[in-house]
Symmetry: C2
């Protein structure tokens, strides 16, 4: 197979086409038959499993328990919270027939589970001793997508959704912040994504939430991607589903609830954060293969080289490294291209001359430090550090990229220039009409009010009315 058959459009030539081709050709995903659905192939699913393991560990360490709630929700449940149904109604998939008959009440395929979990929490919670109730679910959800894109916007996706009930607002707000911390850490330390934790403006809140926190991340085309959200739902769902408890003094009191989710969209985010013209660049902590060994097999020495490659793989596995030996009947060059395209962080080339010399050739995926000759015997000791460095480097590189493409702007011309290539940090009046005008001119929308930024105020960058929020807002085109 020639390079061009497997090659993808260069990122620098057409970013959008590059992404669409790459996720398919790298074997991450394929299109499903029903509109907007995706098949997550083993190479993509493994990334999800690795992220999932880390999230699940942190979710459990912080006292949450996993449970599973039904996929099919009576349509009337959605209608009990007015904002919620308004937000989700256009995206629902509805089961009207089952068991050969028309149902008396249609069932919606869950787009999210606040309603059905609210119904069950109301049944389970009676006393303050039942609180806090800290639940998490790993599940699939369906939201009908008019403009699907693999991983980023799909009719069905996988996620975890945390749902908690608390005695009062401060405790529920602390929970919302805790969940966002888990996401921030997972995104930074595992996906090497320098996410910005922030507050959503009212127009960008989850349907039914009092407050939504988000982590926003910059992709390599300068657009923002929302990588995880955490909501304080106030007593909205508690009222709709009658989630009450008897306080210590006996008073019947409404619970304060939260919900928070991170999805398979993260796989797309990793592609868009780190990838380059040659394909994927996977952060080692989430790479299905952290190391690929390509044995250079020629004539008589082939068996010895393959055996040495397998032995090295075994020694690396003993150190906890995920390693793959590519013994296929293809040329080394073909394999190099393949594994570069698929984003393996580190390639080890091992040929007869290397073997004789007790060395191997190392090539980092970015290829920026060329081919390194390394001592074969010490690789199981040196490779873990090389992978750690690569992980650190990817986060640092993405952070520099984000910072170089983020501009604090105070006038409209600078704003337009900033959002053409990245993020604008601007003061905004908070008016929905002003937001619509900005969007119409530039396609940029308010992504978040960064949590850690310093207070600021002044005239709105677009309409010059007094600024809202007491801080600057990140505006950006977004996925």
């Amino acid at each position: 197979m020639a390079r061009d058959e497997r090659g993808v459009t260069a990122q620098s030539a057409d970013f959008s086409t590059w992404y669409n081709e790459l996720v398919i050709k790298a074997g991450l995903v394929d299109r499903g038959p029903a509109k907007g659905t995706m098949v997550i192939r083993p190479y993509g699913y493994r990334i999800w499993e690795l992220l999932q393991a880390e999230l699940d560990r942190r979710i459990k360490e912080t006292g949450h328990e996993n449970a599973y709630f039904p996929l099919l929700i009576p349509q009337s449940y959605l209608e009990r919270e007015a904002d919620h149904v308004e937000g989700f109604a256009p995206e629902l998939a509805v089961v009207t027939h089952a068991g050969g008959k028309e149902l008396e009440e249609p069932l919606v395929v869950r787009p999210t589970s606040e309603t059905i979990i609210g119904e069950m929490m109301a049944k389970w919670i009676s006393s303050h001793r039942d609180l806090p109730m800290l639940l998490n679910q790993w599940a699939n959800v369906v939201r009908w997508e008019m403009r699907p894109r693999m991983f980023l916007r799909t009719t069905e996706f996988l996620w975890q959704e945390g749902h908690t009930a608390h005695a009062d607002e401060p405790e529920a707000r602390a929970e919302m912040e805790l969940a966002l911390d888990i996401y921030t850490t997972a995104a930074r330390e595992f996906a090497a994504m320098p996410v910005v934790p922030g507050q959503k403006t009212p127009g960008e809140r989850f349907a039914g939430a009092v407050e939504t926190l988000t982590i926003e991340s910059m992709m390599r085309d300068g657009k923002a991607l929302q990588a995880g959200t955490s909501h304080y739902l106030g007593t909205n769902f508690a009222q709709a589903f009658d989630i009450r408890y008897a306080a210590a003094d006996g008073r019947e009191t409404l619970c304060h609830t939260t919900s928070w989710g991170m999805t398979t969209r993260m796989i797309g985010a990793i592609v868009l954060t780190h990838g380059d013209d040659r394909g994927l660049v996977l952060p080692p902590r989430l790479a299905p293969h952290q190391v690929v060994i390509v044995p250079i097999m020629r004539g008589d020495s082939a068996a010895a080289v393959l055996a040495a490659a397998e032995q090295l793989a075994q020694n690396l596995r003993a150190k906890g490294i995920r390693v793959h030996v590519d013994g296929r009947d293809q040329t080394p060059g073909w394999k190099f291209n393949e594994w570069e395209m698929r984003g393996v962080p580190l390639r080890v080339e091992l040929g007869p001359r290397d073997l004789a010399a007790g060395t191997a050739v190392l090539v980092r995926r970015l290829g920026d430090d060329g081919k390194q000759i390394a001592d074969l015997a010490t690789l199981p000791t040196t490779i873990p550090a090389i992978l750690d460095d690569f992980q650190t480097y990817l986060l640092a590189r993405a952070t520099s990229f984000r910072d170089e493409h983020t501009h604090e702007v105070d006038d409209w011309t600078s704003f337009e220039a900033a959002v053409a290539t990245g993020w604008a940090l601007a003061l905004h009046c908070g008016s929905p009409t002003c937001v619509d005008e900005i969007k119409a001119c530039t396609a940029a929308t308010p992504r978040c009010i960064p949590l850690t930024d310093t207070p600021d105020s002044g005239p709105c960058v677009h309409c010059s009315s007094p600024s809202a929020y007491g801080k600057r807002v990140i505006f950006s085109r977004a996925y």
Copy 2:
């Protein structure tokens, strides 16, 4: 809360009511709002997670990769394999509307994924080098249930479904057997269920299969429960979905496929295999809490006792034991009843006098060896062995129970007596009409032809026609 409020109907009084009450009261599960759906609560979901971890490890060790396929399948896909659609049509839930519009083609909520995976395999497989293709999926499925029972028959359940494609029949049959081995081992070693691996008779095969293997297990009421199945699908789905490969000689050849699944039904099976009048009895390897420590807290010594309990828990956790300290404000007796009902394998009671003496009181869940006084300091060393013994004992006890309730029978009177309390091992003619007559008289059906039993033949136990299969068949009432 008094004992009777939490208590369940005794198993010996009414087996069916005992089960229905117990799974709810023990906090394993709750009823979902849509007919036949269940909410798997944290205590039940944890059992599933522990089984899942073991299955997933074994599935990966044997070369399979996890992937994820869409929930929603075009209705026409099901119709491509005649037996398959006939088997599943009555159980389908159908999405007819989505995104606010009626769909051009209805989508079924997957009842199983042979069709959609077949469609994708056809796309991915072209050469013999692509084979075998060994995939597994963890997912939810929906089959409309007219007579639901929690865990055993629910409209939605969780499972893993393996789907593989092979170059020829022997390889595909070997795969079917490998999957059954994984299930047999998981059921015996983790669930302590002495399952019998066997072949399904043609009338009990999966819709679309050439051959179905099963593991059948005896519940404490003598009924059989199918705990996992593995199917050789021949070229049925390969033909329906055009799954072909170019052989080494270039010839276009149909693949041979398999599928195999194990479900959340296993949680119900564990309850029905080991439970007793006082509630659940959980095998240690799948118990959310393997040990519960009940500190006996009185007056001044309460703090010291609780601290000692927490210290013991920490030492046990360091040994990999799942341990829970029950520090709630309830009487010790209340807690003893609660944890017995919830099936915790080992209870440790720790009071001020124990603490002073450097001892603790141990009570195994079955209570059959009374209260044991043990040396507190050595518990982290002795408890792992106690749990192992308990695990072994549960399997041995269930095996004895099964063997005592299994009878080789050659006449109709003995057959009726055998299936009234357990299993009959009988010769059968293989006629579907004869099966129907047996079922009408006794409610018993052919469960499987045990794989390891010795050849046998003679007249059918019911109609005296010559026996089929060359072996005896297990007949039993079944879940």
